[in-house]
Amino acid sequence: MSGTDPTRELLPTADPAQTLAAVRRLLRPRRALALAGLATMTGATAVGLLTQPLLGHIVDLVADHRGPGALTLPAVLLVLVAVVQGATTALGRSLTARLGETVLAALREDFVERALRLPQQQLERAGSGDLTARVTGDVSRVAEAVRTALPELVRSALAIVLTLGALALLDWRFLLAALLAVPIQAATARWYLRRAVPLYASERIATGAQQQELLDTVGAAATIRTFRLEAAHTERVEQRSWAAVQITMRGVRLILGFYSRLHVAEYVGLAAVLLTGLLLVRDGSASIGVATAAALYFHSLFDPVNAALVLLDDMQSAGAGLARLVGVTDLADHQDPPLPSASGTDTDTDTAVEVTALGHAYAPGRPVLHGIDLTLRRGEQVALVGESGAGKSTLAALIAGIHSPTSGTVRLATALNDSDPHSLPVGLVTQEVHVFAGSLADDLRLARPDAGEPELRAALDKVGALAWAEALPEALRTVVGEGGHRLTPTQAQQLALARLILADPPVAVLDEATAEAGSAGALLLEAATAQALRGRTALIVAHRLSQAATADRIVVMDGGRIVESGTHDRLSSAGGRYADLWAAWSGTRTGTTH
């Protein structure tokens, strides 16, 4: 495929309304757990607030000269408060953490599911680093917020409301004095949020870029060593990492400026409460003890107010992460193109695939396919040949339903998949060999999850892979893929063909499936391919003309069009494109060109 979009386009981010709706949707089935968690946390906070009245009571008892013995009861009560508060806090935190973690697991699972169902081109434009950064960084940020910030917010809000109520009970004028701090706090919060939103956005971009660079570098480590580019690539990671550090430090400076402004609010409020106390004591409307209590109450507000306001930061950060997760999970409408429609009107039972007036362009104005008409008869094996860039892979991908065509249709015969509506109608094996990390059996089972060990062995045997598979350190349980046992390209391609046998589609599309293995394994793979295709309708993109020569029919493409179609014998003597290709190919075979 030669369609490459130059611009990197990150996956979407949800707006606040969408994010909120998604949170509600996730919480609804866990309402009981949410209520239990909230109730327990409220209880824990309320019990904790008894500490101050009890301490005040001790002061009163001493002031009233009630003797040391009277202090035992409030002290015991203080211990009781501590024990109850500890127990309820442990329970409440455990409940809210369970709530948060299960919601998070559901969210990240939905997220990966949607991501895997995204159109291939969209994911490639975004880069896999964007996705990985979301599934690691964002998930852990949201988790941290859910585990610590949310319970803290509830506790702080309760503490603030109850303490302000207590201040008003002492004298309403104390409350007025305390509220003098509010305008400064409100202005500070506004000041902070205005700067924090764009800053966090760019921090996230910097972190995503760093993650992508790390993945690229670690994944290509062997190639980097080969070319002695260690220094250059280390430098690239260093730049990304340092940029991320710089932008994080900008965030730190912002939050610290925020605290400095809050210190001003604390001082103003405290001075006002002390002044009010003095004035109220002077005109006799309050006692010294009441004034003291008011000042201590206001002082005890510092922590919950700071905690609540600093949560703006955590919640902002978690909210941004959440929006990036929800942005993907909400993409329900943009799934893969529907599989080529199984046409009910097609009564010709001999036709397996019918391609009509098919055209495709990866980028507007740069079509790579023009008006392709092609019919595959049931059980027919058709080879697609042509020079690199002729549009063979694009046609293969369109027939396999990986992309939707820009124009024209691909139709599959209904009778092909009438036995099981969920079975795969068209299987595609490309030159890309990816061995999934995990056991060899798990890798194969991706194609058919319910396959038993005998079925796996049978599939491996058909592609000539059983011998080496059984010779692996732990046979089919051997961990393969990146980080596991490294398979040769030929083995990886045999695995791909074994997966095709397990998936068992009536139509198979092979896109240069023997190319990556290198020539040494090609013979082996051609035999394996023949086995894998037995009994299927097949379209084979072939660059080894020996493989094309054995097909039922050969279709030659050039410049996005079909230029020739026919059997090997007919085309090789027709003097057209194929005859040229065959001459070049067979010429080297006999050494006549050199």
Binding site: T89, T136, F227, L229, L274, S388, V429, A522, T588
Partner: protein, 562 residues
């Protein structure tokens, strides 16, 4: 190089000691200021409110303002120093990890997914760095405790002693309680890394999944991994919640003890009511630093767990070792000699490659090719026998130096992020004229077919290009590196026959007079070689020109002609 988790942690702190010390000193100042606020409230009540003196109030409010300015600024700059220490230590660890992974001797990637390594370099490096912030805040909190204790000791000796002896006991208990959390946290982090590694791996193989309609099965697999991760996390959070509750209860009991002791002293008349008020105020203040100490403890636990994981990678055994590197022969002539090499499927392979020769190596069994490439590239050293470059064993050459002389371009090489041009020029001398090289590799046609030509960006390690396009770009990059010895493994398998023949001619011309080894079964490439060697069953079975072998060697025909 063995590195312990403790050493990783130690370096993360000592490397930033200036910021850590600055942060701790200023943070201590901040805590002292915070401790002074309740004391000053008591003083204001005593000296101004009780006496109804507005001037005294204004005077003490000025003092309070001065304390506020001090605590505010010391917090601002102290915390900044702490965060800077954390970020910079995290950055340095990240770079240490990257340097280890890219080290010429290799070995760090064995057994680890790229996604898991990336998580290690981001999340775990951040957690270890955050130990610096933890230290700054922890030391500050301790300082707050000391100031409060000093004031309390001046107020009353027994009360001060209760605080001074009680606090270390509390901290020790907190440390003890966070031990199980540390173990839980370790498994939690491993599971989380596993879950994200699986996600990254599935995304990397997405084309394969889509081709087989295996996306639902892949989703199911991720869901299972995520559930395992969830179960581990839930166990960890339960431990954490329990620890939180226990510490909170302990703290409350501690304050009750202070209130009881202080109350009794006041009731006996050994301290004044005002001193009781400030003692209670200070006891309330102590909650802050004590809570700080508990989260610092938890952060240190996470940091230790992460440091151990990082240390494992940093001290991963290298794939190859070079005891005393010898300098390569000067000038480099480019002669290669294999003597009885036994490695993988190779069985005592003997092979002489003359300087400047264009040698074709046809290999019947792909395993032989893999083993041969591993030895030539020094990705691994052969178990028996030796490979020599101009008479010097490769094992005696510094691997980085070796690779600047011998380039082994592997069949499945990745392209780098950047443009096509960046890739071709990646390892080339800046003065190299790339035009003849890209023409020889057929890469100029690739660029011509793309809208942005050589400025076309490469994404996903080259997956955005077709196999044939990718191979030609990789070949151009290998040729442009212009090494004395070039080993190419199956460079044209995804290229059509006409282009392949042109590339074979281009290769011969461009590499004229310099050692070039073509490990392939492509007749188009083997036909241009000076000499072809056939390897069967791990040994050289025959040697001669391509045409001659075609005519007389049936094994060769079977390997090369399909």
């Amino acid at each position: 190089m063995r590195v312990s988790g403790r050493a990783v942690l130690g370096r993360a702190v000592s490397g930033e000691w200036r910021d850590v010390v600055t942060g701790a000193v200023l943070g201590a100042g901040h805590q002292a200021g915070e401790a002074m606020v309740p004391v000053l409230i008591g003083v204001v009540v005593d000296r101004a409110v009780a006496r109804g003196s507005l001037t005294a109030l204004l005077g003490w409010l000025v003092v309070l303002a001065a304390v506020y300015v001090g605590l505010s600024f010391s917090f601002r700059f102290g915390a900044r120093a702490g965060e800077r220490a954390a970020e910079q230590a995290g950055h340095r660890l990240r770079m240490d990890l990257v340097r280890r992974v890219l080290h010429p001797a290799g070995g760090a990637e064995n057994g680890r997914l790229p996604g898991a390594l990336a998580t290690l370099a981001t999340e775990d490096a951040r957690r270890v760095g955050a130990v610096n912030t933890g230290l700054v805040f922890g030391i500050s909190a301790l300082m707050g405790l000391v100031v409060a204790a000093a004031v309390l000791l001046r107020t009353s000796l027994p009360l001060g002693l209760v605080v001074l002896l009680g606090t270390p006991a509390m901290t020790a208990l907190g440390h003890l309680l966070s031990k199980p959390l540390e173990q839980r946290s370790e498994t939690e982090q491993e599971r989380a890394a596993d879950a994200s590694g699986v996600a990254a791996d599935l995304v990397a193989g997405l084309r394969v999944l889509k081709g087989l309609g295996a996306v639902p099965a892949a989703v199911e697999r991720y869901r299972r991994t995520s559930r395992d991760s969830l179960a581990a996390t839930l166990r960890a959070t339960r431990a954490q919640a329990l620890q939180n509750g226990l510490v909170l209860a302990l703290t409350g009991v501690f304050i009750a003890v202070i209130a009881l002791v202080g109350g009794r002293l006041a009731a006996e008349g050994s301290i004044s009511l005002g001193q009781l008020v400030s003692a209670v105020g200070l006891a309330m203040f102590l909650l802050g630093p004590l809570e700080t100490l508990t989260w610092v403890n938890a952060d240190l636990a996470q940091g230790r767990a992460s440091a151990r994981r990082i240390a494992e990678v940093l001290s991963a055994a290298p794939e190859i070792t070079t005891a005393q590197p010898l300098p390569p022969a000067t000038p480099v002539r480019g002669g290669l000699r294999l003597r009885g090499v036994g490695h993988g499927s190779l069985r005592g392979l003997d092979l002489d490659i003359a300087p400047g020769e264009l040698l074709g190596v046809a290999v019947a069994d792909p395993a032989d090719a893999t083993a041969l490439i591993q030895c030539l590239a020094r990705r691994q050293d052969p178990g028996t026998g030796a490979v020599e470059l101009d008479g010097i064993p490769l094992t005696a050459l510094d691997p980085a130096e070796l690779r600047s002389l011998v380039l082994v371009a592997e069949h499945d090489a990745d392209l780098f992020a950047g443009t096509l041009h960046d890739n071709v020029a990646a390892a080339a001398d800046p003065s190299t004229d790339l035009a003849p090289i890209t023409a020889a590799a057929g890469a100029d046609e690739v660029a011509a077919a793309l809208a942005q030509g050589y400025h076309t960006p490469v994404s996903e390690r080259g997956r955005s290009l077709s196999g044939g396009q990718r191979q030609r770009m990789a070949l151009a990059r290998a040729l442009a590196a212009d090494r004395e010895v070039l080993v190419l493994h199956d460079p044209t398998t995804a290229v059509d026959a006409v282009t392949e023949a042109a590339i074979a001619d281009g290769l011969r011309t461009l590499r004229h007079g310099r050692t070039t080894v073509l490990i392939t079964t492509s007749p188009a490439l083997l036909a241009v070689a000076d000499r072809v060697v056939l390897i069967e069953h791990g040994r050289v079975a025959d040697t001669g020109p391509h045409l001659e072998l075609i005519q007389r060697q049936s094994g060769y025909c079977a390997a090369v002609l399909a």
